[in-house]
């Protein structure tokens, strides 16, 4: 293995160890990523739920309209 790549891999492993153990400033880093995940995922879930409800209501309203048209 090229020594430069080996060094980079060692750096990555040591970075991973230290950030997972929340040394230094992990108490600020993880909550930041946590709140970003919470808000962005929450907005997606909310938007998809509203879309699903609106689609279901629209389907019902269109079915009702078609039934009324057939009757007339």
């Amino acid at each position: 293995m090229h020594p430069h790549i080996k060094k980079n891999r060692d750096d990555i492993v040591s970075n991973t160890d230290s950030i997972l153990s929340m040394t230094e400033h992990g108490a600020y880093v993880w909550p930041s990523y946590g709140i970003v995940t919470l808000v962005l995922v929450g907005l997606v879930v909310f938007s998809l739920r509203v879309l699903k409800n609106t689609r279901a209501e629209l389907d019902r309203a269109e079915a009702l309209r078609e039934r009324d048209q057939d009757e007339t």
Binding site: D11, I12, N15, T16, S18, I19, T23, E24, H25, G26, Y28, V29, P31, S32, Y33, I35, V36, V39, L40, L43, V44, S47, L48, V50, L51, T54, R55, E57, L58, A61, E62, L64, R65, D68
Partner: protein
């Protein structure tokens, strides 16, 4: 070009084709961006691991400004050309922009505490971003404050255009006033002052946030157009 997509049916057809690509690309950028941001980027020699907050704070702040600009532009198109899809785009953008502004404020605060020794200061940059957040909330509140959706949309569009004056204030606040917030270090005439190893996760996360907006705004616009059609159907049924 603009008027081609004024037709909701044409817009919906195109949107359904684009959405899966935007979602797929967003997930690729997000996963690779998070990997580089959290594990494969160097620790800053002064800030330590807190530099990793930059990879979400800065893209969130960029998106806060981008979304407001997009919302104001869509509002202008809607007011001038009575472009229904543009109005729907402005409406769909507001909550996403508010979410990014909130995230920029919160992550900035979480970054500020270990670096500045305080969660918050009333300096020009932080205060003007807080004003931006209130502008988003005001836009959404004003839209829903009217019984007539058309009047609500018009009032909110005017508010968003008036509030646009805050966007250049935010951008140049760090140059015009003495602020605790640092000046621009990426979008500078003389080039970024950040090392390439840190620029990679920053740009990947910025791309992911941009694609997130693009995908979600299409989803929300699809919902808003369906809701419009539902309202029209119900009015017709009530009139019959």
């Amino acid at each position: 070009m603009l008027h081609r997509f004024a037709n909701p049916t044409r817009f919906l057809r195109l949107s359904r084709r684009v959405e899966p690509w935007a979602l797929g690309l967003m997930l690729i950028c997000m996963v690779s961006g998070l990997y580089f941001a959290l594990f494969a980027s160097p620790v800053d020699y002064q800030q330590g691991h807190t530099v990793r907050i930059m990879y979400i704070h800065v893209p969130a702040a960029w998106m806060a400004l981008f979304c407001y600009t997009a919302m104001a532009a869509a509002s202008a198109v809607s007011l001038i050309w009575k472009h229904g899809v543009a109005d729907v785009a402005a409406k769909a953008t507001a909550p996403i922009g508010a979410a990014f502004t909130f995230l920029a404020l919160v992550t900035g605060s979480l970054w500020g505490k270990p670096m500045w020794g305080t969660w918050w200061v009333w300096d020009a940059r932080l205060t003007s971003v807080l004003v931006l957040f209130f502008l988003y909330l005001g836009y959404m509140a004003l839209r829903s404050a009217f019984d007539d959706p058309a009047r609500g949309a018009k009032s909110a569009a005017i508010l968003s255009l008036v509030g646009f004056v805050n966007v250049p204030i935010i951008k140049f606040s760090v140059d015009w006033w003495n602020t605790l917030h640092q000046p621009a270090s990426v979008m500078r005439m003389s080039g970024p002052t950040i090392h390439g190893d840190m620029l990679l996760p920053l740009f990947l996360m910025a791309g992911a946030f941009q694609l997130y907006y693009f995908w979600l705004v299409l989803v929300r616009m699809r919902e808003a157009l369906m809701a419009q059609r539902l309202r029209a159907l119900r009015q017709r049924q009530a009139a019959a």
